[in-house]
């Protein structure tokens, strides 16, 4: 019996994460990482952000963003290590570190957003 490959699932997550990362991460990073801290644009007030993140739809959006983005990272980084550094002999370790890291990130995001009061 042929061994079923989980590659298509992983690749689909990579691809979906790539789309999410391309469309929304640049604007988020520009605002959160540069424009707000450097005072180019007034940063949103705490109460406003709190109310925004309390909305279930916002939390769903943030969860999807984190989940897909970390799996995108896992897949791409795994192949960067395989091909770029040619450390194929560490295949299994890289595999578990990358996807394990992605699962950890997803669980952490789910935990933080689910328990957000």
């Amino acid at each position: 019996m042929a061994k079923q490959s989980n590659e298509p699932v992983i690749w689909a997550l990579f691809s979906a994460g790539g789309v999410v990362a391309a469309f929304v991460i640049p604007v988020h990073l520009f605002l959160l990482g540069l424009a707000f801290p450097l005072g180019w644009i007034p940063a949103p007030r705490y109460e406003y952000l709190l109310a925004l993140v309390r909305l279930p739809l916002t939390r769903l959006y943030l969860f999807a963003l984190c989940f897909l983005a970390v799996f995108h990272w896992a897949h791409r980084f795994r192949y960067t290590l395989y091909d770029g550094l040619q450390i194929k002999h560490l295949n299994e370790l890289i595999f578990f570190c990358c996807y394990g890291g992605a699962i950890f990130g997803t669980v952490l995001a789910g935990y933080l957003l689910w328990n957000f009061r």
Partner: protein, 141 residues
Amino acid sequence: MSDTRQTTRYTEYHPRWYRSRVSTWWWLTRWPYLKFILREISSVFVAWFVMVLLLQIRALSRGPQAYAQFERWLQHPAVVLLNLIALFFVVFHAVTWFNLAPRAIAIRFRGKRVPDLWIVGTNYAAWAVISLVVAWFLVRS
């Protein structure tokens, strides 16, 4: 049958593999290779962004003081520099992603393939619209 198998021994003709050893730094030798590796490394900054976002969510849930502390952390020069580098990489990822989109999606309209430029253009237009929507939610308060 089994007798002959035991008595005859074959030495298969097996030429030695010719595989020249590729340097670990192969991707530094040509610009397209370097571009490929830079694109792959962009994923690290995607993960960095997720980490910052999770820190923000945690700070938000912990109260105004924790959030003010998080905002101060964001103002640290090293963090600003890291975010600047990260922004460069995620924009690089976005541009390479959109430019590759026509290779990944072949849309047919009335039997003809939609030109690559349209698909790329649609992606960039969507990028602009989505960025404005996200900014609209975050900037007003």
